[in-house]
Point group: C2
Chain length 288, copies 2
């Protein structure tokens, strides 16, 4: 089994980001990411802290907009407008899900397209579907693809199974795999267990994006699969784990990403890279 660690992949992206950032700073442009968090979900806060740390090391400035979970939807839209209009902000990370009662679809589509560094607007997502890509892809889906490419995993003509059909990962990563000429099967919560198992056993590549522990079990693999585990879950003891039963699966797959230490760090690296790229695009459009 080959362990597909995220660190070397993230390092390579971070190098590129640091180069862009250095160039921008020399022109007195500070690439800036706004983080919009509504409420105080502990896992959001944990991710935020690590993102802030990573941003700092790369020369990306972060501005936090923290709102009470009981805020009105209209207040969130007002804050988004402020962020959209602020020409010193180049990218926006908005934590989801938003508190119950808010129309998330409406809110996410209020992000300015040029600042949508996590590909959450319908325009960005639609581009992934039509192949007419106009914005940034969702970072997590792109992270899965970047890891596959970094480790030289062949995709063309191969059988890929995507477990999960969310707009954040499952659907976009399925489109990206298909664009690389893989034959793609999308399984989800309504796929009978035996069908999921059969599809996985027949697959060359498996993307776990169900967001549920023990989605990929020992009896789903037979030695030939490359597994990219996008899940971030916690076990009974509060230990972070992916969607795959890592210990049971690891010696029965060709390769697998660990959790933690796999997709997560690459996702953050891509978020920062997108922010720097958005700042560079802004600078190119507004140069004196």
């Amino acid at each position: 089994m080959e362990l597909l660690k995220g660190k070397p992949v993230a390092d390579k992206i971070n190098e590129k980001t640091a180069a862009i950032t250095e160039e921008l700073l020399s022109k007195d442009i500070v690439p800036t990411l706004a983080i919009l968090r509504v409420g105080s979900d502990p896992s959001d806060i944990a991710y935020e802290e690590s993102a802030v740390k990573k941003a700092k090391s790369l020369g990306v400035h972060v501005e936090k907009y923290i709102m009470d979970a009981k805020s009105d939807e209209s207040d969130v839209l007002d804050v988004l407008k402020v962020i959209n209009d602020d020409e010193n902000i180049h990218g926006i990370l908005m934590f989801r899900p938003l508190p119950a009662g808010m129309d998330e679809e409406k809110v996410r589509n209020h992000l300015a397209a040029a600042k949508d560094v996590d590909g959450i607007t319908d325009a960005a997502l639609g581009g992934i579907f039509t192949g007419n890509v106009s914005g940034f892809p969702p970072c997590t889906a792109e992270a899965a693809m970047t890891i596959l490419k970094y480790y030289g995993i062949e995709l063309s003509g191969k059988k890929a199974v995507v477990i999960g059909r969310s707009l954040v990962v499952g659907k976009p990563v399925a489109m990206m795999l298909m664009a690389e000429h893989a034959t793609v099967t999308i399984c989800h919560s309504r796929t009978p267990e035996e069908d999921l198992k059969a599809a996985c056993l027949d697959a060359d590549i498996i993307i776990c994006a169900a967001g549920r522990r023990s989605t990929l079990t020992e009896d789903c693999v037979n030695g030939k699969q490359v597994v990219i585990d996008v899940g971030i879950n916690f076990d009974e003891e509060g230990k972070m784990c992916g969607d795959a039963d890592f210990e049971a699966v690891k010696d029965k797959v060709k390769a697998i990403t660990p959790v933690p230490g796999g997709v997560g760090g690459v996702t953050t690296a891509l978020l920062m890279h997108h922010t720097a790229a958005a700042a560079a695009a802004y600078a190119a459009m507004h140069k004196a």
Copy 2:
């Protein structure tokens, strides 16, 4: 084998269309479809003739805009603008592919969203992907789904194989099947022949949308498949046929749509229904 004829499905849609049209005509609104054809492709002309005939029988008016194959792209955009601005036109059917040299992606995205009755703009297609449907779905993809529903074919938890990954049929129909909770495998020109065969043999539902004769052969079916054949091809003798080898396959499937007599007529029926619905929406927005 059950023959899934398109006629009863189309008849049911046409009844609804005629009812909408009658209501609109009583208010002096004539539902109108503009057909934009660039060049003189014989199969375009054949489809146009049948659409005009069908429209007439349903009280839908058709205005033809026929342009020379050597027209400039800017001329086509100018004509589209005239059609978009004409408040007596409610829907647009634009034949594709456009002549070589034209930027089809650019041209199709110039259609006014409200008049995009065949779901060809990125906005309409993106909505199919995100589930945030804002316009009309592509008629052919919707026709495949409508036939499945009419004949009571269960989709939830079933295995569907889509052959073809075009934006016109393959990709949207895959999203629609997934929205109905089917497990979906998308095969395409880069899928190895043995993988296509294995996927089909394992499937409950097969959508043939490759646009190539003999894509679905006898050895791809084993008695349990429901086949929707979207293909419109012609054999050596000039006889219309689908993507499936109908004669060889028909007694080895559970059900199949014939070509002709299957998906095509339902597609036309939906195009007219969308046009009438677009006219009704226009009337509702502009009532005195």
